[in-house]
Amino acid sequence: MSALMKLKTLQGHLESINGFEKPKLKFEQYETPAHLAATALYTIQTQFESIENCTVLDAGCGPGMWSIGAALLGAGTVTSVDIDDDALQVFKENVDDMELTNVDAIQCDFLDPRVARWEGYFDTVVMNPPFGTKNNAGIDMKFLRMGTLLSNDSVYSLHKSSTRNHILKKVKDWGMKGSVIAEMIYELPAKYRFHKQHTMNIAVDIWRVHHAQ
């Protein structure tokens, strides 16, 4: 295998990815910033060796920030799922532009476990789940839980830092281990009409949740 790509190079590639054409509020379509995804993925590989030669699942892939990053860092295969057709069209264009061939996408509802026989199949699950709104509170935890069921090793997931204690408790309830591996600032551009400010800064944690051994 080739040597690991430099962090700067990875971030440069991810900055060229096209985002959502018309983000949909109901799916909470926010793009993961390139520097955030690049830093997170780089850490996931260098500290935990969870990307290279691994089977990786990207849950709620959107335009493909995590999937493409993982593919560039040498994942054995990346499986990318999203519920939204438009997001997957952009995803497909991004993957084709980068000439990546170790990525495969499926349009499905990630929260329905019957779509595929994936229980314990993936070495690594990465996700930037919907944070949840008034109408679907707790959806971030549903994503995380499903991720843990489909993985045989670790899940890496982005959550609001304000939910840290709640996640810690849930992870314990599930009989798993988890820790925050990075704290970052998520600069959320004002995409939707109800956003009054230009950008919003949200403190987020990158979690590593893994099966206790």
């Binding site: 054995g76 295969t77 170790n102 499926i106 499905c108 779509v115 026989r117 199949y121």
Partner: protein, 125 residues
């Protein structure tokens, strides 16, 4: 859609469907895209597969050549075999076509390489 993905997909979420596996493939466009060969990775993936389903799927889209119907023990020492499995699992891609549920006959379209497994609310059990 790669065959490694097909090997896992089911239509079990459909109302009245018991197993929904394996899905039959009807391909109208199949491409082969080069992927770096990594014997270690393929060796690790093979035990996770339903081999017979892979064999049937590969043959149904005309790429079963050289793939044994049953997997011999010590397959990991046979590099030629690993290369063939690598190709069938990762390089062969169904671009256009559909998947069919073995019980209900419901079809799932594959368009631009992406299978659409979404159901309407009325179809979900």
């Amino acid at each position: 859609m790669k065959l490694i993905t097909h090997n896992m997909l089911t239509s079990k979420c459909l109302k009245g469907v018991m197993t929904g596996y394996p899905l039959a493939i009807n391909a109208t466009d199949v491409k082969v895209k080069e992927v770096d060969f990594n014997p270690e990775f393929i060796t690790r993936v093979i035990p996770k597969l339903d081999w017979e389903v892979l064999w049937v799927a590969a043959n149904s889209i005309g790429h079963g050549e050289g793939l044994p119907k049953t997997l011999e023990p010590k397959f990991e020492e046979d590099e030629d075999l690993l290369k063939r499995v690598h190709k069938v699992l990762l390089e062969v891609e169904v671009e256009e076509g559909n998947l069919t549920c073995p019980e209900s006959g419901r079809q799932f379209p594959i368009s631009k390489g992406i299978p659409n497994m979404l159901l309407t609310e009325a179809e979900v059990q």
